[in-house]
């Protein structure tokens, strides 16, 4: 029995594919939990993509709170005597998975990079030490909780003929005594750095938000058009929305060409760009760490180098 939950549809479809593989090895079922999403069409879509059962659960609470969703999931795990629990690895999923693991006194691995059965045991891999190592970890005991980042697995093809069950369920929830006082949508520019083939990334070397146009012009010249950034540009200064943020705590990218401009090259930034093809750095400090992680670098002031580079690349690409 594999149990799957995410508040994100794409991620759920991706996890169903992996869940199917794990369940088939043990002649088990794939169960998808849908919490507070009264959507039978979506439930049937999950079934046609490989799920056996979909549980429709109403929490009775207005908005997600890990405390309450943990109660639901813990009850469900016990109810179906679940084996592996796969949870979508966004911030909601991670805090839910961790609290759930504590409640069930079980192992939990956050942000796995692979999942498989080995020697009859559930085995996962994850990145540790800022991407310097892969740790292979084996669960002993049930259920075992894993959070799965997006785009790790491909969804199964749709099979309209597949049959399954959509079941309404209700579980006891004890309400948390924290209160949600307000929810605000965060800005998003809808860029997908993870899918980009060329990324021009900006760091604190830029003095003003307006100056980021220098990076945009380079991206345009490269016909790349995707701008990335270091954590402070997004999290502290809020010059770019969080979908641009690259690194350990941001997006992991794998473009064929990555420009790090005015980025010092701290290990937490590098953790997000290790799988890049060619890395180019522009930094005015000849001792900047970024040059150790770059294929090509120019020591210089970005305000002088960028316009020249953009011009030269335009000429070359014509």
């Amino acid at each position: 029995m594999v149990l799957i939950y995410s508040n994100n549809k794409k991620l759920t479809l991706e996890m169903i594919a992996k869940g199917r593989e794990l369940a088939d090895e043990q002649d088990g079922e794939v169960i998808v939990a849908m919490i507070d999403e009264k959507d039978e069409n979506l439930a049937n879509e999950y079934i046609s993509h490989g799920a056996d059962k979909v549980f429709l659960v109403e929490s009775g609470v207005e908005n997600f709170k890990a405390e309450e969703y943990t109660d639901i999931m813990a009850n469900m795990v016990n109810d179906v005597e679940s084996g592996p629990v796969l949870i979508g690895s966004n911030k909601y999923g991670k805090e839910l998975a961790s609290r759930l693991a504590a409640k069930l006194s079980t192992g939990c691995v956050i942000d796995c990079t692979d999942i498989y059965m080995e020697d009859g045991e559930l085995t996962v891999e994850r990145m540790v030490y800022n991407g310097n190592a892969i740790s292979v970890e084996r669960f002993s005991g049930r259920p075992g909780i894993i959070t799965v980042p997006s785009k790790l697995f491909d969804p199964l093809k749709k099979d309209e003929g597949r049959s399954g069950e959509v079941i309404e369920k209700s579980y006891d929830v004890s309400s948390s005594y924290s209160n949600i006082a307000g929810i605000e949508e965060m800005p998003s520019e809808g860029v997908d750095v993870e899918a980009a083939n060329i990324i021009v990334s900006c760091g604190r070397g830029f003095k003003n938000r307006e100056d980021l146009h220098l990076a945009e012009e380079l991206a345009d010249a490269l016909k790349g058009k995707v701008i990335g950034c270091s954590r402070p540009i997004s999290a502290d200064l809020k010059w770019l929305s969080e979908d641009h943020w690259i690194g350990l705590s941001g997006h992991k990218v794998k473009p064929s060409l990555y420009f790090a401009i005015g980025i010092s090259g701290q290990i937490q930034h590098i953790a997000g760009i290790r799988d890049s093809g060619i890395i180019v750095a522009i930094n005015k400090d000849p001792n900047a760490l970024i040059f150790d992680s770059a294929d090509y670098g120019i020591v210089g002031d970005l305000y002088e180098v960028l316009p020249k580079l953009t011009d030269a690349i335009k000429k070359e690409m014509d």
Binding site: I110, S135, E137, V299
Partner: protein
Amino acid sequence: MNIIVCAKQVVDVREIKIDKQTNKPILKGIGKTISDIDKNAVEEAIKLKEENKDTKVTVLSVAPFDAREQVKELLAMGADEAVLVSPPEEFDYNTVSTLLAKAIEKIGDYDLILCGEASVDLFSGQMGPRIAGLLDIPQITYARAMSIEGDKVRAERDLTDKAVKMESTFPVLITVTKEINKPRLPSLMGILGAASKPIIEWDGSDLLEERMEPGIKSVDLRGVSMERKNVVYGEDPEEGVRKLVISLGKEGLLG
């Protein structure tokens, strides 16, 4: 008010190299520090102490007793007391979170527990929610701002797609992000003062009713090395640009 800050001793990730022969990260002989974001948690606790009278800040760490040195730095920043709990030989997140929760219950009378959003070596963000779950108290994760007003704490969470304002009564566990503040450097007075602050040591096995089997075992650790060409053009920018464009052309990356 009693604030407990959970702080983790980690290897200094900047120093990690991969052994080419064995393809394993070399972890022996590497410097140890307190995980970056845990210093933000300590800073936040000290700020609350400065704003709210009769506040005590206790630092709690599951770590071998050699973590005394690292913990002293947190006392020098302004925490009042530290508790070190020694882990068993084999442990996982389940074991450590149980030890932390037991230690918190033993310290007793807690109002606010602070953790980092994630530790800089393993970057799981598991421990905070696990502790909150074990203690059965609310959790507010990814707080980028917080304040105490009367008998309530308010916090603003960064959930990537949403900013969520929360409030809770005590006790509550909050995990903070790096952006919440800028940790202070210990002053000379602070460093001198820290020498006389208590560091209490508890044996982890005394806190557990029975031995805990880890639910997860690490079966392999493979180094991932990143070889790069490291060609740096240091002469005047004009030349640098020209050479870079030639190189990128040769790599087949321009059109």
